[in-house]
Structures are given as structure tokens and as C-alpha cells.
């Protein structure tokens, strides 16, 4: 396999970048520090091995989160970058077939994963030395699950990379998919567990796509706060089956797409509905409501031109796309409301509330970095930042326009999922105050995610790394605090979990609505203060940085 020229080129090219060296070093240091921090310092020997098992749990979850965040970074841009630079055409014109090209890329990406996992071996060895952790029952299955997870996420990343037209689009698609495969597939089962409906059966199967139940099975978390996420069968074997099947599916789809048709795309001729026959115009009006191909009027006098530009230049910013997304959200929300009405006694209003909050949180995590992480970096990448600097627009007006374009989009999306709350208030009027608090939590969370992504964007000149950084920081903060919550009985105590969750507005929303597992934490108003102050700080940094890069060099 090493004779495959793509393997050596990709892997060597990857290892020559500072970013890959930094990632490897950071992983080795971070996991060593984690073990050092939990290393026993008193003279009492823990013969039961409970301490080392606690350490191993945190270690396993952190390692899984690190794999989910870091593994897709390089393969997600691997093919789309070749498309953009034109080297994919050269590869496809070489005697190498799609399978060897694909295998070259896959093996190179997995080679990096191998190095990444190797960097954690000293920390694992130290953890094993503490005692109480079995090599064959825990350590090796953990690495097996991590290996399958890496293959799954790498094959997914390569598939997205063939479909995407831009590197940042590939990164967004990849991380969106990773979030779904890693976390969101767990939610239906989490909420529907115990129900005898067919939906619950589907949800039970769906959760096996995520590596989390398998990891919980390995670390013995099946009954501790897991809400029976682990299946009755062996979690590792089930995940290996589902993960393997999905990986094969993704690999097959990618190989099928790796041909000349990827590069054979006609340039748009710019057809405009206004120039077409009256019948066509009426038909399109009925079909689209807002026809994307109609000629637009000029930007209005009181409108921030940057905001309008952002909407128009964003693929999903066009009104017809927003309408479709809003329609989808409204349908899901109304579906939940309908389910709440029928099954409120069985599920409980709190569970329904938890589902809606989780859905909105997922929307925020998926959409916000995708919308905001390219706000400034994409301009700098395409060269249009120079043109913006040449206009009389001030830095604050540019920032305002850009942020407004994200605020409006998020507002529309979140509003579309509100009917479910209305139904909850109708079923249980006493919840009104709590729902208002939930909405405040979600709004603050959305603002924080937006400002974080926009600020990260202002420090980058390319959008793909800006998007990776935004998703990584946001997931580190929010998914990381949920990992601490998962270990809420051991190794983390109540106050540690409470502190960790205080930086997570989504956890605050879940605690307010009384979602099982979160109801005992009192996160309001501390969470609002923490998130609010952090957002204010980010806004100041964003304004200063934008002003700095707008000024003459």
C-alpha cells in the first residue's frame, strides 16, 4: 500500500505542516497532563482500583471527543482542495483508478490517526499502571472503538469532500455530519427510552451509529447516568457492525463519485425569470413563493449593504432556501407538538421540552459556526476584503452588517421551532416562566456561538481552518461540559458538574425545563452572567480585530 504514490504524498505532505505537528504535540501533552492531574498523591493505596477506573473513564471520553474533533480535519478538505487547485484532474488522468486514489487518501488519513492515537499511548500506559483497568476488557476495546470511529469519520469526510465545492463548505458538511453521527443519533433514544412505540425501536437502532454507547459500555457507565444508552448486546460489537457498514457505504459512494463528472460542470448562464414567458413566471412564483431567479431590486436606503450582501452571497441565505429550512423546522416542531399532545402523559412535558431544546441547540451548534466562521476570513481568502476596505464603510458598520445577517437567520430558524413551546404552555401553564428562561438561554447561547465564530474568523485568512477552529472551540466548550455531566456520579462530584455546566447555555436550558438528568442543577443566572460576559468580551475583540485589519498596513 505504501507503494501507492497518493499515500506517500498525502501523508508526507500532512506531516510537513505545522498544524499536524501542533495537533500531535497538543494531544500528547493534554492527555499526559490529564493523567498527571489525577495521579494519586497521598500515601493511601486504592486497592479496589476505583480511582484509576475514574481516571480511565475521563480519559476514554476525552480521547473519543478528541478523535471526533481532530480526525475529520484533514480528510474533509483532501479532495475538494485537489479540485480547486486542479490536481484532481491530473490524478484522474493518470493510470491510477478511483479505488487506488481513494485508498491512497484513506490510508494516508488513517496513518495520521495512527500517529495521533500513538501519541496517547504513554498516557494510556500510565493509566494502566495505576491498576484496576483491564488491558483486554477495557484498553484494547477502547482503541478498537476509536479505530472504527476514525475510519467512520474519515470515510464520511472524504465523501463530503467529493461533494463540496469549497473547502469551508466541506469542513461545515463534515463537522455537521460528525455531530449527527456522534451525538444527535443518541437523542431520540435518550428521550424515547421506555416507550413501546415503533419510533422508540428505530431510535434504539439508530443510537448504535454513535461510538458513545460503546465507550460507555467499555468504561462501565451503562447504568450511571446513561439512561440505558448502551444496547443489551455488546456495545463494542454492535458499534463495530454499524460503524463498519456505514464506513463501507460512505467509501463505496465516494469511489463511485471519483471520476471526471466531478470536474464536468457547466458554468451557470444566469437565467432570469423576468425574461421568461408569463406562464413560466407564474408557475415559478407558485412553486417557489420567492423565486431565486428573479431579478432583485437595489439595496434599500436604510439597509446595511453588508448585511444584504451576506444574505445574497450565502447559498442558504437566499430567501427561498430560508423558507425551505423554516418550513422544515416548523414541520418538526409541529410534529413534536402533536406528539406532546398525544403522549404527554407517557413522556411527560419535560421530556418533550428536552427534545425541543435539544433540537434547537443542535440547530445552533450546526448552523452558527457555519454561518459566522467565514464572515471575515472568506472575504480575506477571496480578496474581496481589499475591496471592502476601499469603500467608505467603517469597521463597525461592516461588523454590524455581517452579524445582523447571522442574527436574522438564526432568529428565523429558532422562531420556526417555537410552536412546540406553545403546546407545552397550553398543556402545563405553570411552565410559562420556565419556557421564557429557556428561550433566554437559547438566545444567549446563539449570540455566544455567533460571536465566538465571528471572532475566530477575524483572525484567519482562510475559511476552512476558521471553521474547524470555531467548531472545535464550541464543541470543546459545550460537548466537553456534557462529557463532565456524563461522569456526574464518578469521577466528578456535583459541584464540579455544576461549574462545568455553567458555561453551557444549552445545559442551562435543559435544567430549567427539568429534563431528566439536568433537573438537580441550578444554572440560572450564573450561566447568563458567564455567557453574557464572554459574549461582550468576544464582541470587543471582534471589533478591535476588524478595525485593525481594516486600517492601512
Amino acid at each position: 500500500m505504501l507503494s501507492n504514490p497518493v499515500v506517500s504524498r498525502e501523508l508526507l505532505g500532512l506531516l510537513r505542516t505545522r498544524r499536524s505537528i501542533a495537533i500531535l504535540a497538543a494531544v500528547a501533552v493534554a492527555f499526559s497532563l490529564l493523567i498527571i492531574a489525577r495521579w494519586p498523591s497521598d500515601g493511601v493505596v486504592d486497592l479496589s482500583g476505583a480511582t484509576s477506573r475514574d481516571v480511565f473513564r475521563v480519559f476514554a471520553y476525552s480521547l473519543t471527543a478528541a478523535v471526533a474533533l481532530l480526525v475529520p480535519v484533514f480528510p474533509s478538505t483532501s479532495i475538494v482542495q485537489e479540485k480547486q487547485t486542479g490536481t484532481l484532474a491530473l490524478l484522474l488522468n493518470s493510470p491510477m483508478g478511483p479505488v487506488s486514489i481513494y485508498l491512497g487518501k484513506l490510508i494516508a488519513a488513517l496513518g495520521f490517526v495512527l500517529l495521533l492515537l500513538s501519541a496517547t499511548l504513554p498516557a494510556t500506559a500510565a493509566c494502566f499502571t495505576l491498576g484496576g483497568v483491564s488491558l483486554f476488557d477495557e484498553v484494547l476495546p477502547l482503541y478498537l472503538v476509536l479505530a472504527i470511529t476514525s475510519v467512520l469519520f474519515t470515510t464520511w469526510s472524504l465523501l463530503v469532500s467529493t461533494a463540496a465545492m469549497t473547502t469551508d463548505g466541506a469542513v461545515r458538511g463534515t463537522f455537521g455530519g460528525v455531530l449527527v453521527l456522534f451525538l444527535l443519533v443518541l437523542l431520540p433514544h435518550y428521550f424515547l427510552d421506555g416507550s413501546e412505540s415503533s419510533l422508540a425501536g428505530i431510535a434504539a437502532i439508530l443510537r448504535n451509529v454513535s461510538p458513545v454507547p460503546a465507550i460507555m459500555d467499555i468504561v462501565g457507565h451503562a447504568d450511571v447516568g446513561s439512561r440505558q444508552l448502551v444496547s443489551q448486546n455488546s456495545g463494542v460489537a454492535t458499534f463495530a457492525l454499524f460503524g463498519g457498514m456505514l464506513s463501507l457505504l460512505f467509501a463505496g459512494m465516494t469511489v463511485g463519485r471519483l471520476n471526471q463528472t466531478l470536474l464536468d460542470r457547466a458554468r451557470s448562464q444566469g437565467n432570469v425569470t423576468d425574461d421568461r414567458a408569463a406562464g413560466v413566471r407564474v408557475f415559478r412564483r407558485l412553486m417557489f413563493l420567492i423565486d431565486p431567479q428573479r431579478r432583485k431590486t437595489g439595496i434599500g436606503p436604510l439597509t446595511n449593504p453588508v448585511m444584504v450582501k451576506e444574505f445574497r452571497s450565502r447559498q442558504f441565505g437566499r430567501l427561498h432556501w430560508l423558507l425551505r429550512i423554516v418550513g422544515g423546522c416548523a414541520i418538526v416542531s409541529l410534529g413534536l407538538a402533536f406528539a406532546a399532545t398525544l403522549g404527554s402523559e407517557e413522556w411527560g412535558v419535560e421530556t418533550i421540552g428536552g427534545i425541543i431544546v435539544s433540537m434547537q441547540a443542535a440547530l445552533i451548534v450546526l448552523f452558527t459556526p457555519s454561518l459566522a466562521s467565514g464572515l471575515i476570513s472568506s472575504e480575506r481568502e477571496s480578496g474581496s476584503w481589499e475591496l471592502l476596505r476601499m469603500t467608505p464603510l467603517s469597521a463597525s458598520r461592516i461588523v454590524r452588517g455581517k452579524l445582523l445577517s447571522v442574527v436574522w437567520t438564526l432568529l428565523i430558524l429558532l422562531m420556526a421551532s417555537l410552536p412546540g413551546y406553545g403546546v407545552m404552555i397550553w398543556i402545563k401553564p405553570i411552565l410559562e416562566e420556565q419556557i421564557i428562561q429557556v428561550l433566554i438561554c437559547l438566545a444567549i447561547g446563539a449570540v455566544f456561538a455567533m460571536l465566538l465564530s465571528a471572532t475566530v474568523s477575524s483572525f484567519f485568512v482562510r475559511t476552512a481552518p476558521a471553521t474547524v477552529a470555531s467548531y472545535s472551540i464550541l464543541l470543546f466548550l459545550w460537548a466537553g461540559s456534557l462529557l463532565v455531566w456524563l461522569g456526574r456520579d464518578a469521577p466528578f462530584g456535583y459541584s464540579a458538574v455544576q461549574t462545568a455546566l455553567s458555561i453551557n447555555p444549552m445545559a442551562a436550558a435543559l435544567s430549567v425545563i427539568g429534563t431528566p438528568g439536568f433537573e438537580s442543577y441550578n444554572l440560572i443566572p450564573v450561566n447568563w452572567w458567564v455567557t453574557g460576559i464572554a459574549s461582550g468580551f468576544l464582541l470587543v475583540v471582534l471589533l478591535i480585530q476588524t478595525w485593525r485589519i481594516t486600517k492601512p498596513e
Binding site: 458554468r267 432583485k296 431590486t297 437595489g298 449593504p305 475591496l387 476601499m390 467608505p392 492601512p552 498596513e553
Partner: protein, 353 residues
Amino acid sequence: MVDQAPVVEISDLTKRYGEFTALDSLTLTVDRGTILGFIGHNGAGKTTTIRILVGLARPTSGTALIAGADCVRQARKVKHLVGYMPDRFGSYSNMRVREYLDFFGAAFGIKRRVRSQRIDEVLDVTGSRYMQDRYVEALSHGMQQRIGIARTLLHQPEVLILDEPANGLDPQARIEMREILLRLADLGKTLIVTSHILPELARICNQVAILHRGKLQACGSLEEVTRQFQQNRMIEVELVGAEEIDRAVAVLSEHSDATGDVVPSPAESIVRFRTEKRDTELGNVLAALVSANVRVTQFREVASDLEEAYLTVTRGEDNGSSREAVAAAEPVAAAGGVTAGSVTAGSEAARAE
């Protein structure tokens, strides 16, 4: 009637990046209505000068004024006076050409009704009306260059600064670009154009400035600069047949002042030589050829071009003869009837060429 007062005034402009001097005491003025060709190697300081002029960079010392406005202290005012087209197009995806122009018009604060008319005008001037509904990222390079120029014209600037507008264009697009630039000059715009394609510049510019290693080496009208830097005249003698070549070379070697430079081309039946002789002395050379029974069909001077002048300047500087080159540049400017390092609006002849 075009007002020929200086519209761009650069005085002792210096830009340093640490130890590296990108621009060294550049002094230059450009009159209204001029098309100035700004020539230099990569890294000569052209883009640095342009970025200072448009307010994207700050000089280490010296001043740059556009229509009296200081490019550093009155950067906001300068933005309205200058239209800048960088060498990168600066595309937005999913935007049609008209929407793209509408955004930049709105960013410059042009009112909606006026903006729509202005967009029509600039699309007409650049011959791009037919592509107003196309998506900007789907345009060819030549089309994007046209839209780039249209964008710079939206706010009706006095000075247009175009960085490599002909770069990467096919011959047809290059001809069209030339026509657009000449049309803009007819509208009274002052143009500063950089390019590596010197024959192209020579066809449109009435003035040129040659920059080398951050220093201005020459400036003036195209004819003045090329003549000044023409070290020797190149004379071409066309003969009746190739059999005359040897005799011709012998005569020319005897009478020419640069024997090593007599170059025969039997395939063309031509002998070329370089000389510093004046016309009357060259008449004697021709007479000697005729006396030696060499049958001459043509005896002519080959006109030197901008490329040759540019290479002479830069080669001279590279060989350490910068002082001579600068000294040579000064009389050029003086011949233009203005102060050293200044450029006047040239005759229509250069453009008509």
C-alpha cells in the same frame, strides 16, 4: 477641455518593511487625463506605491496626494477619488453581476435610483451589459476584469488605478481591454496601469514610469523614454540575396564603429548592426556598400520599443550603473517640460498608435 493640473502628487515616498526598503524616496506627479504605465519587475515597488495611493498601506515617510487629498490623513476622502482594481478580482459567490455592482454602489453611499442608472452606465462603458444577470464566479477571467473595471467606475472616481488589468487575458480580451481603457481616458479619467506586458502598455499609455528596486529610474512620455534609453541605433540592411551577405559584412565591419555587433541573417538576406553614428555618417556607410557593389534593397533604422528601454534601465541598474540611469532619466523629464520625476499628459499620437 481637460484640466492638466497634477492629480497625483507623490513626494519623497518611502516604505520600509524592517530592513527591506520597498520604496525609496519616490517622487512623481501625474497630470489629469494621463494614462501612466507603471513598469517594474516583481517586487520593484509598484504594488506598494499603489497600495499607499489607495490608502491600503501607510508610508514610512513622504506624502502622496490625490486631487489634493492626503492618502494617509484623508483616507476616507481618497476612497471617493480613486477607483482601484487589484490583481485579484474579489468575487462573491451566488451573486449576479448586477447585485455585485449594486452592493459596491450602496457601500459607496450612492442612492438607489442613481445607482441603478450608474450601473447601466458602467456596464455600457465596459461593454458588459449582456452579462448583468450572470453569476460573478461563473464569469471568465476576461469578463471578470471588465466587471472589475465597472466596479471601480461606479462612484465616478477621478483616478483609476488598475493592477495588471491585461494579465491572463486572451488576445481578443486584451484588445477589448485596451479599447475600454482608451475609452476611459476619453472620458477624462486619469489612469495608472501596471502591467508586465510592455507592448500592450506601449499601445495605450502616453506616459511611462519605470521603477526598479523601489527607485524611480525613468519617467516621461513613451517616445522620450525609449529614445533616451536607446544606447545604440539598430540599423537593418536588406540585400537582394544571401550571396551578398559576406561582402556586406566586410564593408560594414570596416565602416561601422561596433564591429562585434554586425550580425548577418542569411535566411532573411539581412545584416543588422548597432552604431552611434549620426544620419550623415550613416549615409557614408550606405555609399560604401553601394561602391562595393553590394545590392541594397533597404537601409533602415529599427525603432526601439518600451521593452528595450525597460531592459536597458533595469540591466544598467543590475550592473551597478544606477547613477547613469537616473542621470539619464532626469533630462527625459526635463524634456517633458516639467520638474524632475513628473509626467505630463502626452499627445494623442501615442494613443492613436
